[in-house]
Symmetry: C2
Subunit: 506 residues, 2 copies
């Protein structure tokens, strides 16, 4: 079949023999090609530290370098891999760089990458037990391994999702059902209850608000509770908000507590919140997407006190457990509520297995299709062992505390939040401005200076920082969490900050 | 740090030198390990046809073969890869097998697997332009390539999601906003409109119903329109349902038309539905998750007439475009409505880039984090070229038509639906029962016989079929769509069906 007999000359492959010839790359051609890609990738990993973490790229400059039209004829692997090196790699934000201190790190560990390679090649879809028996059963094994690693009781079951956004959405959808609102069947419109409410601190992640938008609860349903001086939820204000809503006839549904907020990694006191949720019969969802893996270290579990009383907990192995994106885990004591929120049985998904005690994971989440994410987690956990992971996480916390010490010891710098985990919030505030820093004009000058400072440091390419805004204003965040980050990278960040600060007019 | 000084003996690695030593697998160790995994995977692909597509596995038999507790110490790669061969591969459903005719196929093409390997290793998260410039801009390029390939006008923009479930949920969330309901902000409860309605055929995919459950519309919001003799939506009944709902004060929001339903691959007449949607000002979402890639073939675009008038279209490259799971594409003329449904701007996601014409894809979908799926699509499309993909899709359709011919020509078999694409719905119905097939007792006997027949054929391991239920009862589906399927695999399916049917008492 030749529907376009006259393709653009530049798209005609130079080595037709390596082209597809109407079928797939055969297994031997795949073997050769994949060995080449492995070398390309190993070279990339070996070279990544020499690259600018965030290269100087202008928005809109990349797309025009690709052909505007799709290729009619197959192209040789040589041409494609050359373009990977020419167009893809130079235009990445290098999350694999040990100087990546922005947002929260996602590292793709070596064993995790191997897991993803196998996942892609084995082509599983564990939506039903029948469509992937080992994909289904290994997910149960790995989720339980992680539960044990975190020190949670065996009343917690769970599943692996793509992101914390999906995990929290799934939890809140289950909360609606657990509250008896019967939303999956009847919807939220025209019902005899009014205004469901979800309580979260004003520092909770945007994914909570987004989940409420998606779920039809609306941003209006999110009651943002004020926080204390450390950016942890004000428990008295939480209780008052619930009482006020009940008095006004509204419908409290869930409380979201965060262990490790995104801005400042603040810790909501779950041990004080859990009794409120229990008394008020509200679903308690704990967002530990970032900090969860710290609970692998028994000596560091104080921040997690009470989370075993939650109805659901999310944590992301693709963050501080170094598993390649994507991998979020939703643990819950209420799998039945997830099932009520998402179960459907069309005939074409019925299997003879349904009579057995089979779990079909699609019935517990918004999507039908699912990736075999348990495989990379299993390989990653086995290759490292929990002890090596604890060691890395602990080292990151020590690095962050050391950096925080430098900030604290220098009168020209100011730390803006506690450092319970691996993230430091700070700004440059020259000592002479300490007394007037709250004056609006000085505050503006400090904001502008710190924004310029962060941009200057990022422009060096050695490290990559991001920011947030806390009570004092523009706040630089240094989040230590890349698997390959060592002391010297944190030292370099401090050196660059001090060097560039000296050049920035405040 | 040694938190557990006494690990179980069987978990102590035998080659500690290959273990992590507190850091990651270094690039050279990764290179060696990845070359080994490539060989394992190439061997798997070379051997897959010799395996039973669905092996004889009992539910619950796999999990107990894994250790109940997670490993405290790292284990050598040898042990892990040996377990991949011992525990993982024998317990897969082999979606990569050319005899996979169940559900709708997902093949992981060779180039697609290379793309996934690079995706994992490069560790991108194109949630913001800034967190992956090329991940963001290449997504725009590839989505536009696919739009052109499908013959759609450049008024369509779009994005890549994980699954059709997410694509359709995203489209319906946008439909709510486009209808002026302001749900993202205000939610669905306690509003002055009643009972939003989504219209879809009774044959529409369960993901539509699930999306409505998730979105807070509820299953009750889905109006299931009857279908005609060919299982296509009854357009007159659709118009009547909308009119009835308006008369009753309900709130029509969207129509979902399916091109290629999951049960029988029926085609709703989009060219007749689009004018209704336009007149009624309803969002028209076209679910072409399965059949969409057929539109790559201009000569086969008749089934798609009118889809260019849709507000949104979903199709899944991980189905009939042979890209490794997961990859769904949502095309839409209304990106602004997606943005209204999902956009949030927390400070920690603000970037200096926001002043430029940058697209941050997280603002158009339920999740914040995103995989770099454009990379595998780009590699896959370049390696094959559109023409080779057209050739495979066309060959699959011809194979299905040939199989349908065998069914039609044999008086002991009955075809149960048209074959517009690559899927045949049929059953064994011995000629002597033709006249009484509608009698309840005969119908039951035929149902049981066909269920047993399908189980017997699947038990051979050479092919894997799934079923649905159409008007006549239990229906076997043969869905041709694996990249590696050849005529001989379809011939084998027919041979096994005839052989086993002769052994089944009806």
């Amino acid at each position: 079949m030749s529907l376009d007999p006259d393709p653009p000359a530049e798209l005609v492959p130079s080595e037709r023999a390596t082209g597809p010839g109407g079928g797939d790359m055969d297994p031997e051609a795949f073997r050769d090609a994949a060995h080449r890609v492995v070398d390309l990738l190993a070279d990339y990993l070996a070279s990544v530290e020499g690259r600018a973490v965030f290269p100087p790229i202008e928005p809109g400059s990349i797309a025009p370098r690709f052909p505007a039209a799709p290729p009619e004829r197959g192209e040789p692997l040589d041409a494609i891999l050359a373009d990977v090196e020419r167009l893809i790699i130079p235009n990445l934000t290098h999350w694999q760089h040990p100087g990546f201190f922005a947002y929260f790190s996602t590292t793709a560990s070596g064993p995790g990458i191997l897991g993803e390679l196998l996942t892609a090649g084995l082509g599983q879809n564990p939506m039903l037990w029948r469509t992937s028996p080992v994909g289904t059963e290994l997910e149960g094994v790995v989720v339980d391994w992680l539960r044990q690693a975190l020190g949670l009781p065996d009343t917690f079951d769970g599943l692996i999702t793509d992101t914390a956004s999906t995990s929290s959405l799934t939890a809140l959808a289950a909360a609606r059902e657990a509250a008896g609102l019967d939303v999956a069947a009847r919807g939220l419109s025209g019902r005899d209850f009014d205004a469901p409410r979800v309580y979260a601190s004003e520092q909770a992640h945007s994914s909570i608000e987004k989940a409420c938008m998606t779920l039809g609860l609306g941003r209006a349903s999110v009651v943002k509770i004020p926080t204390d001086v450390d950016y942890a939820i004000d428990v008295v204000a939480l209780e008052r908000a619930i009482a006020d809503d009940r008095a006004a006839g509204r419908t409290p549904v869930a409380i979201v507590a965060t262990i490790g907020t995104t801005s400042s990694t603040a810790v909501d006191p779950v041990d004080a919140i859990a009794p409120i949720a229990e008394r008020e019969r509200l679903w308690l969802h704990v967002d530990a997407a970032y900090a969860g893996p710290v609970a692998l270290i028994p000596e560091r579990r104080a921040a997690f006190a009470g989370w075993e009383r939650a109805d659901s907990i999310v944590f992301n192995p693709h963050k501080w457990l170094f598993v390649p994106f994507d991998a979020s885990v939703l643990l819950t004591r209420r799998m039945d509520a997830l099932h009520r929120a998402f179960s459907l049985h069309p005939e074409y998904l019925r299997t003879l297995d349904r009579t057995s005690p089979v779990r079909d994971y699609n019935e517990y989440q918004p999507q039908l299709g699912r990736r075999f994410r348990a495989l990379k987690l299993w390989i990653h956990l086995r290759w490292f062992g929990l002890d090596a992971l604890r060691e890395r996480i602990d080292a990151h916390i020590v690095m962050a505390q050391r950096f925080a010490g430098w900030v604290d010891d220098d009168p020209d710098w100011q730390r803006l939040a506690p450092v319970p985990f691996g993230t430091v919030c700070f700004r440059y505030r020259p000592a002479p401005l300490a007394a007037t820093a709250d004056r609006p004009d000085v505050r503006d000058r400090l904001d502008r200076a710190n924004e310029a400072l962060m941009a200057a440091v990022n422009a060096t390419g050695d490290v990559f920082l991001s920011h947030t805004r806390l009570r004092d204003g523009f706040t630089i965040r240094l989040a230590v969490g890349n698997l390959r980050t060592e002391d010297r990278h944190v030292e370099r960040a401090w050196e660059l900050l001090c060097r560039e600060a000296a050049r920035i007019p405040v």
